[in-house]
Symmetry: C2
Subunit: 364 residues, 2 copies
């Protein structure tokens, strides 16, 4: 039976990327060695890192003055790396979910160590709050563009409003779960980072897009591995990088480019989201957890059973599983269901879930 | 042509581990999903982490009170994690190579921040110096059991001497390049860590064996991701772990157990090292860079052309390459050649290199 992978991350990758990775595990580029056992210093691996950096820049239209690096440790390590590198006297966080809350927690933990303060601009898990001003004495503000758990995403209109509000304050964004799914004006940001295990790669690699100019302005010891300059100078190879995840990231970005890049995937992601939200909005059994359509995530679509129908949870879950749906159970903080529709999920996959919902409804 | 992978790391893995990994990339345990796209929270991944932790404990005979965790970020991140978690007033480092020097550099960088000091016990790259005493007011001493670049390794006899010298001071060891290659009395250590890309796994995962009792004795803010307690409490899954590298680590440890565990591999590693060092010691063209036999690494065997024969470098390198030898160029700090003979390299592979050396000698 065909499986439809709606996992929230690590998550679906294109079939051909998976096949190409499997081939490289058996024999990397005809070298007679597995990608699992090649040296990252080998002459044939440097081009992988170089092309991955170049492709990320090309796909997102990254301007001059920025570097792209690939690291281990996950986005969670970035929660402390950002303050270590950028926090002077004050940092402000827009708290829109579990991950931005963790980023803020880390900044609040480190602020006293650095003689600084970390403040919350506004907080909401079920919408993107815009009732805040940005204090102009902040070193940076931090946003999380997509809320994987509750299923909100900052719309382009609201991003534009944040760009205006921030004035000259630096902008840092965790884009773990919507990077490469939509256009982004990178020039507005000083740092964009994320775990790559949603739209880019398997688990184990973190990307950071960084404006070099923003570094070197704090006066303190930054542990070598937490200093972005270490990894920029080392070209992502200061220490042994996660070789296979970086290679798969490259294969996946090649796939995206061949299929039409950000424009293609942005349109396809919109089509998928419209299809599923439209089905849920017209459902007699289900309702979306995020009511304001502007704030709805296209990546993580959350829905619950309507009052009176909650008992059908197990039955629907079993039914959907029998139809090949994988990973649709909602996060325990939200309950219900969550269909993560990352780049590699095609329209047919979302249509299969819609058909499954409709068939289930017809039975009740 | 058969390739013999003598890479210093990432490095050779057993053929069947590579094949099993490739199968999991196409279909993980018959679930119809790739290991690249399964959720680390899936019911079928927790057993992987649990078994990997259990197998590491079983293979090394890890006593009660210790935990094994698998992290991202590399051993280089451990260079700052150790001081963050253990440094009170003083830490001492035995400096026996490039990596221990980096560990010491990090401790020296952080010491003033913590109001502490980091001292060097003794230093040498071409031998294991034992002319030091351990100040009993140290919070810990740090050793690097194998020197990947210069090719020294702390012998069991010298380890026993270090255990005596340390008295009640905690012992921390970077065992990146000889973990699981020899027996180790874990009870003598508080922390053993290492990048797993030599004897355990592909690049992208770091192991830490930690005595829980040693944590929680410093009074400062430890960034969440740098706090070992975070990862112990989270069972290596506080954040998304490097899924594939952990799975391959498990496959590789199963392979080791099936073949006879540490006893088997220790004997085989000795046989391989004897074979190659014996060849080099009796060579008219080559000589080992490490003269004291007790201090010679079994994992990284370094040799250079004797005076008068240096011009043969390119010729031998080409000849060896034509015979299938991979990764035998020495590190630029040492020059010459380095044959890394990690666990997955079999006696036949080392014999092939010996034959290659002898054939080359016969030609000159």
């Amino acid at each position: 039976m065909k499986k439809y992978n709606f996992n929230a991350g690590p998550s679906i990758l294109p079939e051909e990327v998976i096949k190409q990775t499997a081939e490289a595990v058996l024999d990397f580029q005809g070298e007679g060695l597995s990608i699992l056992e090649i040296s990252h210093r080998a002459k044939y691996f440097q081009p992988v890192v170089d092309e991955a950096e170049a492709l990320m820049k090309e796909l997102l239209g990254v301007p001059e003055g920025y570097r792209v690096i690939f690291l281990g440790g996950g986005a969670s390590l970035q929660f402390c790396m950002v303050p270590f590198n950028l926090m002077g006297k004050k940092a402000a966080y827009l708290n829109t979910g579990v991950w931005s809350k963790k980023a803020l927690k880390e900044a609040k933990g480190l602020a006293p160590v650095f003689g600084a303060e970390a403040i919350e601009l506004a907080a909401s898990t079920n919408s993107i709050p815009m009732d805040f001003e940005v204090p102009q004495d902040c070193d940076y503000i931090h946003i999380t563009t997509n809320n994987t758990i509750y299923g909100t995403e900052i719309s382009e209109r609201k991003l534009q409003e944040i760009y205006r509000k921030k004035g000259n304050v630096r902008l840092v964004a965790d884009m773990s779960s919507d990077i490469l799914s939509r256009p982004v004006d990178v020039s507005k940001y000083d740092i964009i980072y994320g775990g790559a295990q949603k739209n880019i790669a398997p688990a184990g690699v973190t990307f950071v897009i960084i404006k070099e100019e923003c570094l070197g302005h704090v006066d303190r010891y930054i542990p070598t591995m937490l200093d972005y300059r270490t990894h920029i100078d080392g070209g992502s190879m200061f220490n042994t990088p996660p070789v296979l995840p970086i290679y798969t990231a490259l294969l996946n970005m090649r796939w995206l480019k061949e299929h039409g890049g950000i424009k293609f995937i942005d349109e396809r992601n919109q089509k998928k989201a419209d299809l599923l939200y439209n089905c849920i909005d017209n459902s007699k059994l289900f309702t979306a957890t995020i009511q304001d359509k502007e704030d709805r995530s296209r990546m993580n679509i959350c829905f619950v059973l309507k009052p009176g129908y909650e008992d059908l949870f197990d039955e629907f879950f079993k039914f959907a599983t029998s139809k090949g749906m994988v990973g649709i159970k909602g996060h325990r903080l939200v309950g219900g269901f969550r269909a993560s529709c990352y780049n590699a999920m095609d329209v047919e996959g979302v249509q299969a879930l819609v058909d499954c919902i409709k068939e289930f409804e017809a039975m009740h």
